[in-house]
Symmetry: C2
Subunit: 342 residues, 2 copies
DNA sequence: CACCAGATAGACAACGTTGTCATTAATGAT
DNA sequence: ATCATTAATGACAACGTTGTCTATCTGGTG
């Protein structure tokens, strides 16, 4: 006969009452032993400990949390995609801070889908997380207002959120983008293209803004074909590049709006065997080891995550001060690709 | 006067009883409305809904879960480091499966520290997660046995765990490593170095084993200096490379045991301006765009995560069959760096 | 008009813990 | 030996839900 059910049925977990019955004491005495409270004779405690081991008892923290009513020692992190290196670094930093505060961390990816984000956020609120760190999608976040009012602390990171008065950690998107473009202008480039993510994403819009500002200040009119905003899929990028690189006014340099886009652009440029000057927003691993090392405007995702988490815990611990908006600087890392003269 | 406390004190959240009082009904009626149970007159339901909105009520899922006693619809994922691209991809895949099963996901990084892993795992068990997906550190996992016996499903991924009969998803570490080395042997290399992670990590040991096996089969004796196992920090890697690349029997090719090591090696080789043939274990972004595109033995982290999560949910949903060990194949992706003749 | 079925609603226990308080046993002082 | 004092322990309510059971109110039927 084939191998049959060998593992035990998921027996209900033992409770302090089960332990008490085995040890022959009142259940409150078990609770005292479990929590190291005083007032239990060593002999009794020993008997209880034996029963605990025998039954494999572990305190149900859900029940404890319900009874105690204060904190759940858990927070939630909702971002676009945990597998994006930018967010995974941010995520790790949040985790470290949570750990330092004795909190567990729920993680969820919104996949840039507002209803999915909402569903996640509300599920976490229903679980009574102490706080939420959110990379908000573009949609309205009014749904969070009652939760905030009810005492769930919220911090947004990477993007602000309209109509909700919460702490926010951003990077200097427009400024960083401007810095990158100005770097290209200094090398003599005048026809500079811009490829960014969909314009309804806050960071994408801000960075585009920085590009346009720098170009305007340099009195470089921007042709329509020089700007391409959209998700960083290869087909889309290829078409945009072809448009930019041909015609009467081909661009001689490119500014890319985020790490995903930069990588897609590099891949397409390699395929097209074209090598315009290039500056990317966001650093990425190996940027320095490519045949032409890539100049980038770097953010510090870990620092952003850490800052957001610390802000969150300050709130959780009772800070009721005015909400803050922290803007973190970017850093230009010249590596070669942006230093090619026009 | 300076701006003072403007946000509301974290008032206790309203409960169904509060709602009931406002709506002037019994609290059970509120529960019925909240859960869409039948048997409430539309007029009453309307009154209740109004009270719910007015108070900003949201059902406390902790209490519900406690009362219902079955599942908590949450699982835990413990891995070495969420910010490692390999694990962050795995993580995302787990998340998708969890979402499909209506489960929330706790994430935690063990940082390769056994006590930290243990602490995390037990905290999650105390929260009564339905299951745990673990990338186990090297230490003993006996502590998990009572939890498994008590009904918490556990699946390990990337590495097996001794002394615990649970489902496991691995990749073909030794086979993949062997494939990589054989590829180098076919190009005529005989003096091949190996750089891997600390040998007490399962995957590192297995891959080293694959290397030694391939070398032995090819009758290539392995010099002591050709093998370096340890954390992928630059100093350590540099010393190892210097040892391998000089002397009477310098290596002409390298096999790297994981993505972190490969990247560190590439960086050091660039600094040393040496370009031995190279094959890496694990694919990584931009491997194809480096000046010499890097040949790798690729795993599929997302597939591993998905498989592990599906296995876990099968258990959670009641599967009591014998525990499984699934080994996923690796794929050699020749890109250039491994094809340089000796 | 009396009666019953079904619809609507509420009372109350239970989930596994912690906090409060009462009870009992042990100890020391008189 | 008696009483006060402290140590050890247990009984019980409460946390915010859901499930079970019972009570009330309708309206329709004979």
């Amino acid at each position: 006969m084939p191998d049959e059910a060998k593992r035990p049925a998921a027996t209900a977990r033992p409770t302090i009452k089960d332990v008490a019955a085995v040890a022959g004491v009142g259940f409150k005495t078990v609770a005292r032993v479990v929590n190291g409270e005083p007032g239990v004779k060593e002999a009794t405690a020993e008997r209880v400990r034996k029963a605990i081991d025998q039954l494999g008892f572990r305190r149900n923290d859900g029940a404890r949390l319900l009874r105690e009513g204060r904190r759940t020692s858990s927070i939630g992190l909702i971002l676009e995609d945990v597998s994006d290196p930018f967010y995974s670094q941010l995520s790790r930093a949040v985790e470290e801070v949570a750990r330092a505060h004795g909190s567990l961390l729920f993680t969820g990816s919104s996949a840039e889908d507002a209803s999915r984000e909402r569903e996640l956020a509300l599920a976490l609120c229903a679980r009574r997380v102490d706080g939420l760190i959110v990379v908000p999608t573009a949609a309205d976040h009014g749904y969070l207002a009652p939760e905030v009012a009810a005492g769930t602390s919220v911090v947004t990171v990477d993007r602000p959120v309209a109509g909700l008065d919460v702490d926010t950690v951003l990077c200097d998107n427009a400024g960083g983008s401007r810095t990158g473009v100005e770097h290209l202008l200094r090398q003599g480039h005048r026809r500079i293209g811009y490829l960014g993510d969909s314009e309804n994403i806050f960071t994408a819009a801000e960075r585009l803004h920085g590009y346009r500002g720098a170009m305007a200040d340099a009195r470089c009119p921007v042709q329509d074909t020089w700007v391409s905003m959209g998700p960083p899929d290869l087909v889309h990028i290829r078409l945009a590049l072809e448009r930019m690189l041909v015609g009467r006014w081909p661009v001689t340099a490119l500014m890319c709006g985020n790490n995903r886009t930069t990588v897609a652009v590099l891949r397409e440029l390699a395929a097209l065997d074209r090598h315009p000057a290039l500056v990317g927003f966001d650093d990425f691993e190996l940027a320095d080891l490519l045949s032409v090392p890539v100049t980038v405007v770097a953010q510090d995702p870990a620092q952003m995550g850490r800052t957001a988490a610390e802000l969150l815990f300050r709130r959780i611990e009772g800070d009721r001060g005015q909400s803050q908006r922290i803007t973190m600087p970017t850093r230009l890392l010249p590596r070669g690709s942006g230093e090619q003269p026009a």
